[in-house]
């Protein structure tokens, strides 16, 4: 641990403690909030009802692109049972967006709509039915504009502009970075591969539809309950959107029924509920229908990619050049970050001495894309891992062994100056190879194709939290208050949002471990901007590490005071005091140890009220070049995966049999929860690989329902064999890294590689459908190259690159500033 701070007592949880000393960490204990979930007691936002509450509805555009000439709400206002009707003109005239660089949204459009589903007006009424009827009475006159429904259309029609800002007509953002001379690398390579890949867009499809309940009180203060993953950003942006001081806004997050990135933006329904509540003088709830969730979207960016990589004959990567082009949909959302993410962390998995990345995000008249589990990295991961498979074949190498050989070196810097710390990928590969019986089942390149059953391999890496906040500031990324009550109860207050991943439980386990008490002795209070210190939100796999470290710091500060008080009472040295089994004392004289309750009372008598804060911000390791803000992380998780599947040559149908997946999670704070994250990631990946796609016809979403938008059921899931690898990263709490997103990444390419192993057909795009396989088999029979995928690289003119020297192989910096350590 390279912590700059000094501490009077030994630090807890820095990855050094042996498992046998731990009472809670590493144990399979139930989640703290699970009892409400199995009894139906847990309250999600749409389960809340307030006295006099009205129901709200949004009126949405039927046009993909149109000017709003006139809106007449008089018919709706006259309908009995209607309390308030608003349009964008009833809101302050400001545009907003989650990223400071893309302030391009209005909660209700005033001049122009940009996709079918864009909100233009909202109604609050006595019940939902009346609100719906009132929406139908709103008369909107549109002047339709040409709709740009694909990247190609948007690029070839510069005369039609979806937005006025950006790096070119309908081009929101262009990125061009180069770290070392890639052309020189290609020149000396034994094998250079160039491929074009396409990764389809898809929706998060969280089971709970978004809902918001706003109550604007007569005191002029506003409370919003919302199913959001990021109460802090919603809090901050509501102040701007509503022109109301943050001090007068409270955002509370009830239980959230899944997010996966789909609840990370401020949304129209949240803003509309607030303003309607203010006008109606009563609480207003807006719950989206499933169809509206598909319009709200912010899902995976459809991405076209061109990838060129130079390999040595032994399989080393000598250099890599990637171009990506993202179909952004109608608004910015997180898209600039998503675009950077398609290039940023390709360098952290394997040794990649030089690297060039060009990216573009293009506006289209479709629902805005944004962050979905894996945020911008599943697309290039699919490209890279499929291409490595192709290279292994050309070089006659075992694709698992080839990957193992080129795994990045721990505690070094990448070409693009990111610092990698612990890397458990070799162990992950070894475990998957062994568990899957890889060598026997893969059985060499000469045995590709013409069989029923086969296996594929891929690896990946992911960030454990973003190194930078979404808006620039020097404040903590996560804060926790730990408060001990006279009865020995401990309250943990934190802005973190449990969206099902178990962050409330992680906070509890860490504090229980530090204080030697049971999880049951702790109550967590989270995600309430009035009561809890800021946590930036449940995104970028940051919560376990960042809240975890803040919680441990707060608990440690409480423990220090209690240690001092107990040491004085027992007349022993503070260093000898231990906390365990709800008691505090010395090992040598444990029978005279005090109870935790007595220790709390002594400490309160000595110190005063026992409430301590902890804070965390990532180590200051963000490189200095422009465009370096996306990708740095306190540490990276690593995953290896093998998929065994069967293909029916008659129908093209794929049957998945087994997935072996090993994940370097640093330390499993609760193995059950980590396995749950891995299994859920594998599931979501299978959906993206085989069936999920966000597609449009004549400007309209083709499948805005759960029946038409296909997602895997219990019958589609193979057996998933999860292997947890622990590397005890110095930055993570007790060594923990992320588990919620990384394990999704290798599954899609492993499936594509397995399909090749079975059929001899390369499918360089998602989803990998039966139709595409049959098409490939047909090509094979005709003796043509059996490859299905896009032909042309992105038709974007990327600017001259920002040239930065490669930092590849440099050792990680010894002393890194840690702001709140």
């Amino acid at each position: 641990m390279t912590t700059a701070s000094t501490r009077s007592t030994p630090s807890i949880g820095e990855g050094t403690q042996d498992d046998h000393e731990l009472a809670v960490i590493g144990k399979r204990v139930p989640k703290v909030d699970v009892w409400g979930k199995v009894t139906g007691e847990t309250r999600y936002t749409d389960d809340l009802q307030l006295p006099r509450m009205a129901f709200g509805k949004l009126l949405r555009s039927p046009h993909p692109h149109a000017l709003i000439k006139r809106i007449d709400t008089s018919g709706a206002k006259a309908l009995p049972g209607v309390y308030a009707v608003i349009t964008g003109h009833d809101l302050p005239p400001v545009k907003f967006g989650i990223l400071p660089v893309s302030q391009d949204e209005e909660a209700l459009c005033t001049e122009k709509v940009r996709y079918v589903g864009d909100a233009v007006a909202a109604v609050a009424a006595v019940d939902e039915e009346t609100a719906e009827r009132a929406c139908r009475l709103i008369d909107v006159e549109y002047e339709p504009l040409p709709a740009l429904m694909s990247v190609e259309e948007s690029l070839s029609h510069p005369e039609v502009r979806i937005h006025e800002y950006g790096h070119g007509p309908n081009i929101q953002r262009l990125i061009s970075l180069q770290f070392g001379d890639v052309e020189a690398a290609f020149a000396k390579a034994d094998l250079v591969l160039e491929d074009v890949f396409f990764y389809q867009g898809n929706n998060h499809l969280a089971m709970e539809q978004h809902a918001a309940l706003a109550s604007w009180g007569p005191d002029g203060k506003l409370t919003l309950w919302s199913s959001t993953q990021t109460p802090h950003y919603v809090h901050r942006l509501l102040a701007k959107i509503l022109d109301l001081p943050m001090a007068h806004i409270r955002v509370v997050v009830p239980a959230v029924g899944g997010g996966f990135g789909g609840k990370l933006d401020p949304f129209s329904h949240e803003v509309a509920a607030c303003r309607l509540s203010q006008l109606a003088g009563r609480p207003v709830k807006i719950a989206l229908t499933r169809e509206e969730v598909f319009y709200t979207h912010r899902g995976r960016h459809p991405t076209l990619m061109w990838l060129k990589t130079g390999f040595s004959k032994d399989g080393d990567i000598l250099g890599c050049h990637l171009k990506t082009c993202l179909d952004g949909g109608a608004y910015g959302s997180y898209g600039v970050a998503s675009s950077f993410y398609t290039g940023a962390i390709n360098s952290v998995t394997y040794k990649m001495p030089v690297y060039r990345f060009e990216g573009a995000r293009v506006f289209t008249n479709k629902p805005a894309c944004g962050p979905k589990r894996g945020h911008g990295t599943p697309q290039p991961r699919f490209a890279l891992e499929c291409q490595i498979d192709k290279a292994a074949e050309r070089l006659g190498l075992d694709p698992a062994a080839m990957r193992r050989r080129i795994v990045a070196e721990p505690f070094t810097k990448t070409a693009n100056h990111f610092t990698v710390t612990t890397i458990g990928l070799k162990e992950c590969i070894d475990k998957v190879v062994e568990a899957s019986d890889w060598r026997r089942k893969w059985s060499g390149w000469q045995k590709v194709g013409g069989k029923r059953r086969g296996i594929g391999f891929a690896c990946s890496a992911f960030v454990t939290g973003a190194g930078e906040s979404i808006y620039w500031n020097e404040m903590p990324h996560s804060g926790v208050i730990v408060r001990a009550d006279r009865g020995g109860g401990v309250a943990v207050l934190c802005g973190a949002t449990d969206i099902g991943q178990g962050s409330d439980s992680i906070l509890t386990y860490l504090v229980a471990e530090a204080l030697g008490i049971e999880p049951k002795d702790i109550r967590v209070h989270t995600a309430d901007t009035d009561l809890t210190p800021v946590d930036l939100g449940s995104y970028s796999s940051r919560v376990t590490l960042m809240c975890g470290r803040a919680a441990m710091q707060a608990a440690e500060r409480l423990r220090e005071v209690m240690t001092k008080a107990v040491a004085r009472k027992l007349e022993v040295a503070p260093e000898d005091i231990v906390f365990r089994d709800r008691r505090v004392g010395t090992r040598d004289d444990w029978e005279n140890a005090l109870t935790f309750v007595q220790a709390v009372e002594l400490a309160e008598a000595m110190h005063g009220v026992l409430a301590f804060a902890g804070a965390y911000a990532p180590p200051k390791r963000v490189p200095g070049y422009r465009g370096a803000g996306v990708g740095p992380s306190p540490c990276y998780s690593y995953t290896a995966c093998a998929v065994e599947l069967e293909v029916d040559e008659e129908t093209g149908e794929i049957t998945l049999h087994d997935v072996w997946i090993a994940h370097d999670v640093g330390r499993a704070l609760n193995p059950s929860l980590v396995e749950g994250q891995v299994e859920g990631s594998v599931y979501m990946a299978i959906g993206e690989a085989l069936m999920e796609e966000q597609v449009f016809r004549k400007g309209v979403h083709k499948t805005p329902s759960m029946l038409d938008y296909k997602s895997p059921t219990s019958l589609d899931m193979p057996e998933v064999h999860t292997i947890l690898v622990e590397t005890h990263d110095p930055e993570g709490p007790y060594g923990a890294k992320e588990a919620g997103q990384g394990p999704l990444l290798p599954v899609m390419p492993a499936i594509a590689n397995a399909v090749y192993n079975v059929t001899g057909v390369r499918i360089d795009e998602t989803p990998i459908t039966a139709e595409k396989i049959l098409k490939g088999l047909d090509l094979l029979r005709q003796g043509k190259p059996a490859r299905i995928g896009p032909d042309k690289p992105p038709a974007v003119v990327y600017p001259q690159p920002n040239m930065v020297e490669s930092a590849f192989g440099q050792p990680a910096d010894e002393d890194v500033p840690r702001p709140f350590a």
Binding site: R28, P30, K31, D33, V34, W35, G36, K37, V38, T39, G40, E41, T42, R43, Y44, D46, D47, Q49, P80, G81, V126, D127, E129, T130, H204, A206, M207, E208, Q209, A255, V256, G257, G258, F260, T289, R290, I499, G500, Q501, G502, S672, L673, E675, G676, E679, G680, S681, V682, Y683, M684, S705, M706, L707, S711, T713, S714, L715, M717, E719, V720
Partner: protein, 166 residues
């Protein structure tokens, strides 16, 4: 507003409940809004996701597609009625212990579907569990721990039943 309401008597979780509701209101809406039983969830309100599954006379049905008037005189069981007083159902215990509920939103519907399964088939195979749950979408878990929890609850239930026999 002004919609005609009908007085309907329902047997919910062993209790007789009367509601006066518009005749076209779904059972899902009546359970959640009129009876305060918000444990039953909605994910689509079109019969596609299984989140609103309740048991009607022991059979899993989608509350979003049912009219309350069609449920008069039948036993409706929601997640709130699954426990026996303060004693949790073995399925609830197993889901909690094994981590089968993540966000928990699909959990009530899955618990009830699983109850119907193990009531009629006390020792289901893994494939039978998969088939029974195929209409209940879960986006968090990948179903693995759900299948494990249903198996474990079934095993415990049959063992408990065997132990009760003289």
């Amino acid at each position: 507003m002004g919609t005609e309401r009908q007085l309907i008597t329902l047997q919910v979780n062993g209790e007789t409940r009367q509601v006066a509701v518009p005749v076209h209101k779904t059972l899902l809406e009546v359970l959640r809004e009129d009876l305060g039983l918000t444990g039953t969830k909605h994910g689509c309100e079109l019969g596609e996701c299984g989140a609103c599954t309740v048991l009607i006379d022991g059979r899993p049905e989608l509350a979003c597609l049912l009219l309350p008037i069609a449920c008069e005189g039948r036993e409706i069981l929601t997640v709130e009625g699954l426990a026996d007083g303060a004693k949790l159902h073995p399925l609830q215990e197993a889901f909690a212990e094994l981590g089968a509920a993540q966000c928990g939103y699909c959990t009530p519907g899955i618990l009830l579907t699983a109850k119907a399964l193990i009531d009629s088939n006390p020792r289901p195979t893994r494939q039978e569990i998969r088939e029974a749950l195929a209409g209940n979408l879960c986006r968090c878990s990948g179903y693995a721990k759900i299948l494990n929890a249903v198996s474990m609850a079934a095993l415990r239930s049959t063992e408990a039943a065997a132990a009760r026999k003289p």
